[in-house]
Symmetry: C2
Subunit: 110 residues, 2 copies
């Protein structure tokens, strides 16, 4: 990503963006927290995101403490991503964003 | 920006990110809506952002209907960016993000 790091900015909005501001991340959190899609394949289908991009973003979210990775099938290996308390607590942000979107963006009903 | 467009996704969160999801944008809105810094130079100093990047993001926000550009000085020409109703209405999103950041990111007090 071509961007300056916000880590040194002493502002909770900047710090939040540092953790979850990347473009796809809020939509991945929407899948996991609101739509309860936790399996890699479900999230990938839900978003129409490239698997390599999704794998990278999920790893970032696991490292950031927002998701917990768990294997739910052995052969072949399959993984799901469970929201932590930090991720569940992000729900009001997604809801505020959705309310804003319903009012100020082209007609949506998601 | 290396990203897929969310314009075709029928979801208010995706549509909102399409308008304001870019990395710097929420911080620019924070300057204008919460800190009431409306002049180009103030915003630039507040964020420590490169002037060319800021100019591009401000133009995007004007085109998206979130800011209104107004010249406040003639010689030399100086511009300020006033929040529209859509931008002011984004405040709850910023506040939700700030609450989350205070709880889940390294100590901040902004």
């Amino acid at each position: 990503m071509r961007r300056k790091s916000f880590e040194d900015m002493n502002c909770p909005i900047a710090q939040s963006l540092e953790l979850v501001g990347e473009w796809w991340t809020p939509l991945i959190l929407r899948e996991v927290v609101i739509l309860r899609s936790t399996r890699f394949d479900e999230i990938q289908t839900g978003l129409g995101i490239a698997p390599t991009v999704l794998a990278r973003r999920l790893k970032h979210l696991v490292d950031a403490g927002l998701l917990e990775r768990r294997q739910y099938h052995d052969h072949p290996p399959r993984f799901e991503y469970l929201p932590t308390e930090a991720a569940r607590d992000f729900r009001p942000v997604l809801e505020a964003l959705a309310r804003w979107g319903r009012r100020w963006t082209p007609a949506t009903d998601g």
